[in-house]
Amino acid sequence: MRMKQLLANYRQNKLLYWLILPSLIFLFIFNYIPMGGLIIAFQDYSFTRGIWGSEWIGFENFTDFFSGMYFGRTLGNTLALSGLDLLFNFPAAIILALMLNEVRSARFKRTIQTVSYMPHFISMVVAAGLIKEFCDSSGVISSLAVQLGGKPQSYISQPQYFRSIFTISEIWKSVGFNSIVYLAALSGISEELYEAARIDGAGRWRQLFHVTFPGLLPTVIIMLILRCGAIMNVNFEKVLLLYSPSTYATADIISTYVYRMGIIKQKIGFSTAVGLFNSVISLILVLGVNKLSKMYTETSMF
């Protein structure tokens, strides 16, 4: 019966079915086939034998990863970089939006917006190049330290500075662009609500707490869901460009480890298993946070 309905629907709207076909084919080849390819996480994969001929080894790749020395370090670094981002970068965009929302002059507001979006459009390679130059032993930070009585040193090659450099530069690169969503939400709050609050005698702070924040909350929650779902996805390209063997202790994250094991050392089965671990945790996180949010706030993505 349902098949019949579908067929009838196809006859009436043939063109629609043909229009969606190319993107479905793309999706199948470039998204769903690699998902199927994840079975090599359970194989001792070899290039010569391929996916159909390689030996099945169950969870050995996973147990190897969990018992190896890199598991704790890469997981810890991933969570640390992500946690710092959530702690500083996430609220920074909200604060910037609130600050911009207080500006009366439309021209000034637009100018600040334009310049604050700029770092977002600079390529990761150029941004990383700038970070390296500034944090080098002859760079700006080092010469500032010299003026304050320190001695010149290269900050980017010392593990104890990596997380700060990463987090601060990440705020620089993304705070402006991330504020767009919140600015949109703020401009969507009805002026009448503020008017009513003023008539009730609410000052600026009370208006902020009783009108602005509640109006902003749904957007904050949606962004928080997205952000929490992405906790395992630290800006991989940036770490790859900035880290070096001397900073692995604080900089090496799960995805850079996957890259080194898989692409460089060609340990295909093992690195796929590590990547799969990462993706599964991500999936659980995003579904979990979505469910929590549905339960408590009626705001959800799915």
Partner: protein
């Protein structure tokens, strides 16, 4: 009527501080690129001797860096390749994304909910780096330009954004067009696309920027330097500190010039994007609001 009440002193202090801080933030955002810009116009010997951070141009003003860049054939190769990847990739993305978004925004399309979930699931879960890499190997696309064009040809996030934009076009327009005998291609081309220009412009910019700035896929799929995008040469120069990309066709350049050229290439590879985005800026919000996947 509105807000001409006298402002309290604390309000004045707040406004002043807020403006001041926003100026500081704005300055911090652009300062690094200003530094690069002024360095790129500086005299190579001065740059090599002094280093440091520059917020004003250093006399004597010099175009030597820009003259030198044109003699590096790698820079021209990279620029050409990047243009191929950006133009080809944007066209592919637009055709696939617009057609998928159009279909999934039509209520006449019966399997709409199911197909949308097939698309949306790829935002939650994917094969990851290694299975994707193996796929490209198995398709025989290593060292082919198609590896870069095809693996970035479709983005579900953009599709959902466009789908929501298309949904906001009133149904009555489509209905009257259908009564006049218009088919889906005509409806899409003459009604839906013209009424969603702003969203399409934003998606186009975002895709173009992503492709222009992309380097990682090239670094794992392309070993042939003649097919490298400009970002790969930039990585070699800025990150790996290799002078290999700077081997000049004509003559070996001086050390000082090579330092200068770093800045010049950065400007050449970045300025096109920085000149375009302010024109589309007011529509950005259409490209970042996604709300819900289901409608």
């Amino acid at each position: 009527m509105s807000m001409k009440i006298k402002e309290s002193p604390s309000r004045k202090i707040f406004v002043f501080l807020n403006t001041f801080l926003l100026c500081l933030i704005g300055f911090a955002c652009v300062a690094p690129m200003i530094h690069v810009l002024f360095c790129s116009f500086s005299d190579p010997t001065v740059i090599a001797r002094e280093g440091g951070f520059r917020l004003w141009p250093v006399a004597p003003f010099s175009f030597e860096g820009y003259r030198a860049v044109l003699s590096y054939k790698n820079v021209l190769i990279g620029y050409g390749n990047t243009l191929i990847y950006v133009i080809g990739g944007v066209l592919l993305n637009l055709v696939l994304t617009i057609s998928a978004a159009y279909v999934l925004s039509r209520k006449r399309f019966a399997p709409r909910g199911f197909v949308t979930m097939i698309f949306a699931f790829t935002m939650l879960f994917n094969g990851g780096m290694i299975p994707n890499y193996l796929l490209v190997v198995d398709l025989g696309l290593i060292d082919s330009r198609w590896a870069l064009l095809l693996t970035s040809a479709f983005n579900t996030f953009n599709m959902i954004i466009l789908k929501n934009a298309f949904l906001s076009v009133p149904d009555s327009l489509e209905e009257s067009a259908r009564l006049d005998g218009a088919n889906d291609l005509r409806i899409m081309w003459h009604i839906i696309i013209p009424l969603s220009k702003a969203s399409i412009a934003v998606i186009t910019l975002f895709v173009a920027v992503t492709l222009w700035n992309s380097w990682f896929t090239a670094s794992i799929y392309i070993t042939d330097r003649n097919k490298w995008p400009i970002q790969m040469f930039l990585r070699e120069i800025l990150i790996n500190n290799s002078q290999k990309s700077l081997e000049s066709g004509a003559q070996a350049s001086a050390m000082a010039l090579q330092i200068l050229v770093k800045y010049t290439i950065t400007i050449i590879a970045t300025v096109p994007i920085l000149c375009i985005y302010p024109f589309v800026q007011k529509f950005f919000v259409k490209g970042v609001l996604i709300g819900s996947v289901k409608e």
